[in-house]
């Protein structure tokens, strides 16, 4: 299991290879890559700044991955979340799950993302030509997490 919070970009090839190359029991790797969207629809370049709670972040992510392992066959998993300043089209987050079978890999990866969205202490601030603002949490993320049976808060 690899959990990382970092400002640098990551190498998807290397991360996915690390999950399966040494383990011939891995039949499926499902990866989620989250990217900075240009939510201004071209009205000036926006920069996203990601703040986090050092220490708790890693602990929360490790707990989410452990929860996934309790529910499904997870042979290995990697979660990397970037912090600091990010531009549109840049990767923010990678969640990759290796399993023997695709069903487990898909569901565990989506579960980890849904919980990360509602339980991992990261906050986004957007800067545009008009100024800065903190991004609001979305009800849809609470609903996505709640369907797994947890509180999702």
């Amino acid at each position: 299991m690899k959990i990382a919070v970092q400002s640098e970009a990551f190498d998807l090839n290397a991360e996915v290879a690390a999950l399966h190359q040494a383990n011939p029991k891995v039949g499926a790797v499902v990866s989620f890559l989250g990217l900075v969207r240009d939510i201004n629809e071209g009205q000036g370049v926006s920069t996203l700044s990601l703040e986090h709670y050092p220490g708790m972040t890693e602990k929360a992510l490790a707990q989410i991955v452990e929860d996934a392992r309790q529910r499904w066959e997870v042979l290995d998993a990697t979660v990397i979340h970037r912090v600091g300043a990010l531009q549109p089209t840049e990767p923010i987050v990678l969640v990759a799950v290796a399993s023997g079978h695709r069903g487990d890999a898909f569901v565990a990866c989506e579960f980890i993302m849904d919980y990360l969205k509602t339980r991992a202490p990261f906050w986004k601030k957007e800067a545009t030509a008009e100024g800065e603002h903190w991004v609001d949490a979305r009800e849809s993320d609470d609903r996505a997490a709640a369907r797994w049976g947890g509180s999702g808060k």
């Binding site: 990601l50 709670y53 708790m56 202490p121 986004k124 903190w134």
Partner: protein
């Protein structure tokens, strides 16, 4: 009792501080007591921590969903709903 209070993101900006290490008055034993004590500061404290406002609490880096007894040297963090990923 001494605790460490941390504030993140919008709350850090509104409270104009990222952390403090107050000595709590003797009557403050639980998270609910602590939040009342903070609200009594008035202004942005009363406003942001009012009933019905959306904020989250972590004690010693675990999210807390209900009231809890506090202990010496607890690390208590207040922050807005998270928006990572």
């Amino acid at each position: 009792m001494n605790v460490r209070l941390l504030y993140f993101a919008r709350l850090r900006e509104v409270f104009a501080t990222g952390q403090e290490t107050p000595e709590l008055p003797p009557g403050i034993q639980t998270l609910a007591d602590l939040l009342d004590w903070l609200r009594q500061r008035g202004g942005v404290w009363a406003e942001e921590l009012a009933a019905g406002r959306a904020y989250r609490v972590a004690i010693n880096q675990d999210l807390i969903e209900q009231d809890a007894v506090l202990h010496e040297n607890d690390e208590i963090a207040l922050f807005p709903p998270v928006t990572g990923g």
